[in-house]
Amino acid sequence: METEQLNLRVSQDLVHDIDIVTGLLKVNRSEWIKTKLAEEAQKEKNRLLMELSTLYAKGMITKDSIEKLVGKEIAEEMEFIKEAAIESVRRGRNLGRKLRGKLKA
């Protein structure tokens, strides 16, 4: 996996807190920070994409706007999912019509 170096300055208080945590857990400080950063980034990414996908599925934002915000790959994936879901619902509607009165709850 390729890596990139980030240069961050954090407060001494934060460093002190991290040292207490990693000391108690007996884990490497850098590894602990990397793990926590990855967890938080994943959680926040999913939360924000949930909100963005909600706006898109409801027709409140265009694919072009999504592309400007998060890039072509995610914008195209959202478009694909939306179109595939709509087509699937339409096929379900057709099958439901054929089976009207023939299914049991």
Binding site: K58, S88, V89, R90, G92, R93, L103
Partner: protein, 177 residues
């Protein structure tokens, strides 16, 4: 098993993956699906459900409920194995089952759907909500409520599936529901 109104031999068949079982059981739809359709899956999906069922979280509890209905689900390993890139071994099994039996694969796994394009038919799990609503088993507002519940337990891709289905159910031009 209680007999459906649809004669057993005339029932439509589908292949289910783990996400389809979880999504439909999360809104208590799996029983109705199993009464009215033939559902086949792979032994690898059953193993995935068993692994989920070990945990005492929401997904684990749903997986436990699915496994209680195991006798109503046909589990079959694929006879042929056509290669399919970028997906898991379980997904390859399901793809090949759908391919050899020429029936649709039901999954909410977008990656699997994308890689299956042009080779097999796929449906997302809301397909069944539309079938049941149009067939007269559910009111439209009940179906929408179930879709809202389904989207609360998944990620942004599933959110897009369920919300797009809600929008199509609500706004579809040829919607007689």
């Amino acid at each position: 098993m209680e007999e459906s109104f649809v004669e057993n031999s005339k029932r439509e068949s589908f292949i289910f993956d783990t996400s389809a079982f979880i999504s439909l059981e999360s809104v208590s739809l799996l029983d109705i699906v199993l009464k009215n359709f033939h559902i086949t899956t792979s032994p690898s999906v059953i193993r995935e459900l068993e692994n989920f069922a070990i945990h005492n979280d929401q997904l684990g509890e749903i997986a436990q409920r699915v496994l209680k209905k195991k006798t109503m689900i046909l589990s079959e390993a694929p006879m042929q194995l056509q290669p399919l890139s970028y997906v898991s071994d379980t997904d390859k099994d399901l793809f090949n089952l759908a391919l050899s039996r020429k029936i649709a694969l039901v999954t909410d796994d977008v990656k699997l759907v994308r890689h299956s394009i042009g080779t097999i038919s796929t449906e997302f799990s809301p397909f069944f909500l539309t079938v049941f609503t149009e067939a007269g088993l559910f009111q439209k507002n009940e179906a929408i409520q179930k879709l809202e519940t389904m989207r609360s337990i998944r990620n942004w891709r599933n959110n897009t599936i369920y919300l797009s289905a809600i929008r199509e159910l609500t706004l579809g031009k040829d919607n007689n529901i």
